[in-house]
């Protein structure tokens, strides 16, 4: 069935309003879209790493989640999901869950809980091949504690632990390419997406990931108006710039086969993405032109590498 946003929006909400995420936070949109990708007749268990989303969506005695939800700690969403999946398998085998009943196991964490502190737990769960889908809402820094750099922070972004200054042009290192690392695990379905347009790209990838057997992974670029320093209403402009500059290419890897899912009509220069955000302000100061050149060079190199892998 063809994707239809209007029909999708008619589905019962499974991530409710009233959560405490910031105005304009993209993580809430990710959660709503993620839950729309679970078939209405199926239940889900969400395993959430500590972070903005956790403290904002399940503050006792309220929860925004319609489905079962568990948070245990920061670095272990994948391990927790592994346990849920193991219990699901055995309860099903013992007839305690009906044979025809599908319960989808989802894990979700920010880049801190996924790229960094939760990396070991994620890698272990991927290698073991539990039947679950991990969603990373990558907002490029530790936002819950106030925009400290993570391994997902792009080079030259100013974060509170890599501030720009007389001697500094922001973070020194490039973003860890986690999506590629997950591909290297041999995961049956890996995708990069973000929120843009009618959300078709996100929805289709999320649905494929959730309904593909095995440990699957969706990396979602999830802008943060506080940390990236842009007006909250500019979210879709930012994500569009990210994909059109190829800073965040959209692709999926199905059973090891790469497929580009979005090719910009005209590849924009990287500064079109950077100039929309306060975290790159210093790059536009006289004398720092080289940072934009270096950023462009890196994006071009990564884009070419990706194109060479795509069929």
């Amino acid at each position: 069935m063809a994707y239809n946003l209007k029909e999708e929006m008619n589905k019962e909400e499974r991530f409710h309003a009233g959560h405490r995420l910031c105005a304009g936070c993209a993580a809430g949109i990710v959660c709503r879209a993620m839950m729309r990708a679970v078939n209405p007749e199926d239940k889900a268990v969400i395993c959430n790493a500590t972070g903005c989303l956790e403290v904002s969506s399940f503050q006792y005695p309220y929860t925004a989640w319609e489905d079962s939800y568990i948070h245990t700690a920061f670095e272990n969403a994948s391990a927790t999901a592994s346990g849920v999946e193991a219990a699901y398998n055995v309860l099903k085998r013992k007839g305690k869950i009906a044979e025809d009943k599908e319960i989808k196991i989802l894990a979700i964490g920010g880049d801190g809980g996924t790229y960094d502190i939760g990396f070991q737990s994620l890698s272990g769960a991927l290698e073991r091949g539990h039947d679950f889908t991990y969603f990373c809402y990558d907002n490029n820094a530790y936002m819950n504690t106030g925009t400290q750099r993570s391994s997902a922070t792009p080079r030259f972004a100013s974060a509170t632990t890599t501030p720009a200054g007389v001697e500094s042009v922001g973070k020194k290192q490039v973003q860890k390419d986690l999506t590629q690392i997950v591909v290297a695990h041999g995961s049956p379905y890996v995708a990069q997406t973000t929120l843009f347009g009618n959300m078709k790209d996100f929805h289709e990838k999320a649905h494929r990931a959730i309904y593909k057997k095995g440990a699957t992974f969706v990396n979602v670029l999830t802008p943060c108006p506080r940390g990236w320093q842009y007006p909250a209403e500019n979210l879709l402009e930012i994500t569009k710039a990210a994909i059109d500059t190829c800073v965040w290419p959209l692709y999926e890897v199905v059973e090891g086969e790469y497929r580009l899912t979005y090719e910009p009509k005209k590849k924009l220069p990287v500064e079109e993405f950077m100039r929309l955000q306060g975290r790159f302000n210093h790059c536009f100061k006289p004398g720092n032109e080289w940072t934009i050149e270096a950023a462009q060079e890196y994006v071009d190199k990564k884009w070419d590498e990706l194109l060479s892998k795509c069929v």
Binding site: T80, A81, G83, I103, S121
Partner: protein, 394 residues
């Protein structure tokens, strides 16, 4: 019908696990607990259990997977030692606060450093505030029996707390002893099926687990957890009573050995109690009124029971097989001294830190402690309160 068998403590635990047939076992190896999942892996390979056996990539993930499995509605178990237990530390507290009755077998081993694989209680006693119930055993039979009682205590509706079944690394975990193994069917019927009221995979009623609790709610959750630990004391005794009725072996929070008229006594844990009992027998043969308390349950701490048992004593040695670095005594000493604080006539009390990293504890060593207690009882002079025993002169 019980079966007489020769088993190590690790194999006794693995056997109990096979009989209980848990839903999920998440494992990561560490000496000396590794044999437990190894034996269990063979049960899985031979189709003797229905368990989902997952080989995770760390102890932190082992406990995290247990949390997920237990919250999802399964009975979850794991085993570890030493650094592995320390690595679990964060999620042990989460298990307690989420009120998930995970059962964890601990082959107690010294903490690094220097790195050492032998026995003391520095790993498990460091976790005494984690919210786990902790059962300790003198010998392999007690290890097995404690495991049979573990799930019933942990899963009791008035408790719902995680539980550690502790054995002494190598001493009980690896040494082979004759023990009584109970019949599979009898064990299954004693332990019963796990039937949580609410769980993640309950189709008709979703569950949210692990909230952010602001100051307006956090304290209520912690107080409820504290009450559960208080309830555990009663439940441990109830389960022990049913265990005795079913299998004939008696257990309590503490074991008193010649305490009725004891003037000098030791408070001790685990396998060392067996050694010290031999010493008590010898002293009793000489007409010396020596006694011993073996603490089986460290959490909940049997403070009233210990105080009552020590009430007739003149001098008491608390035997600490872990160092707390408080500069004034080990953890068991602090707990026992606290237990006695409101007694009308307190015995003189000293702390002996011994046996660290597997340093041998002998009948002669126990005897030297009782000799010192005799001296304190005669003179009323305590002398040094906090001493280490068995180390080379430095």
């Amino acid at each position: 019908m019980s079966i007489r068998d020769r088993l190590s403590g690790n194999e006794a635990i693995a056997t109990a696990m096979r009989q209980i047939n848990p839903d999920v076992f998440a494992m990561f190896p560490i000496t000396p607990s590794t044999e437990i999942p190894q034996y269990f892996a063979q049960y899985v390979a031979d189709g003797k259990v229905d368990t989902e056996f997952i080989c995770v990539e760390s102890e932190h993930s082992a406990m995290s997977a247990c949390l997920g499995a237990e919250a999802a509605g399964g009975r979850a178990v794991t085993a570890t030692s030493s650094a592995g237990l320390s690595y679990m530390n964060e999620v042990l507290y989460v298990a307690g606060s989420l009120r998930l009755p995970v059962v964890l077998a601990v082959s107690c081993r010294a903490l690094t450093g220097p790195i050492n694989i032998n026995h003391d209680y520095s790993d498990s006693l460091a976790e005494r505030d984690s919210g786990f119930i902790q059962l300790y055993a003198e010998n392999n039979q007690e290890v097995y029996d404690n495991y049979l009682m573990a799930h019933r205590i942990a899963e009791h509706p008035d408790v719902r707390l995680p539980l550690m079944v502790c054995e002494d690394g190598f001493i009980t975990s690896h040494a082979i002893e004759n023990i009584e193994i109970e019949d599979d069917t009898a064990v299954k019927s004693f332990v019963g099926e796990y039937k949580p009221e609410n769980y993640l995979l309950k189709e008709e009623n979703p569950l949210a687990v692990g909230p952010y609790g602001v100051s307006g709610y956090y304290m209520e959750a912690r107080v409820a957890q504290a009450h559960a630990m208080i309830n555990a004391k009663r439940v441990i005794k109830e389960v022990a009573a049913d265990f005795e009725k079913t299998f004939g072996r008696h257990y309590d929070l503490i074991e008193e050995y010649h305490m009725d008229d004891a003037e000098i006594a030791m408070v001790i844990m685990g396998s060392s109690a067996g050694t010290a009992k031999a010493c008590v027998d010898e002293l009793r043969g000489q007409g010396i009124k020596a006694g011993l308390i073996k603490v089986r349950v460290i959490r909940p701490f049997p403070a009233e029971e210990i105080a009552a048992s020590l009430s007739g004593c003149k001098a008491v040695a608390i035997m600490d097989k872990s160092e707390g670095f408080s500069a004034c005594g080990g953890p068991l000493f602090a707990e026992c001294a606290g237990a006695c604080i409101n007694m009308d006539a307190r015995p003189k009390m000293i702390d002996i830190v011994y046996g660290l990293g597997g340093r041998d504890f002998t009948v002669a060593a126990a005897k030297s402690v009782y000799e010192r207690l005799g001296e304190i009882a005669r003179t009323g002079q305590t002398g040094p309160v906090y001493v280490h025993m068995g180390q080379r002169e430095v």
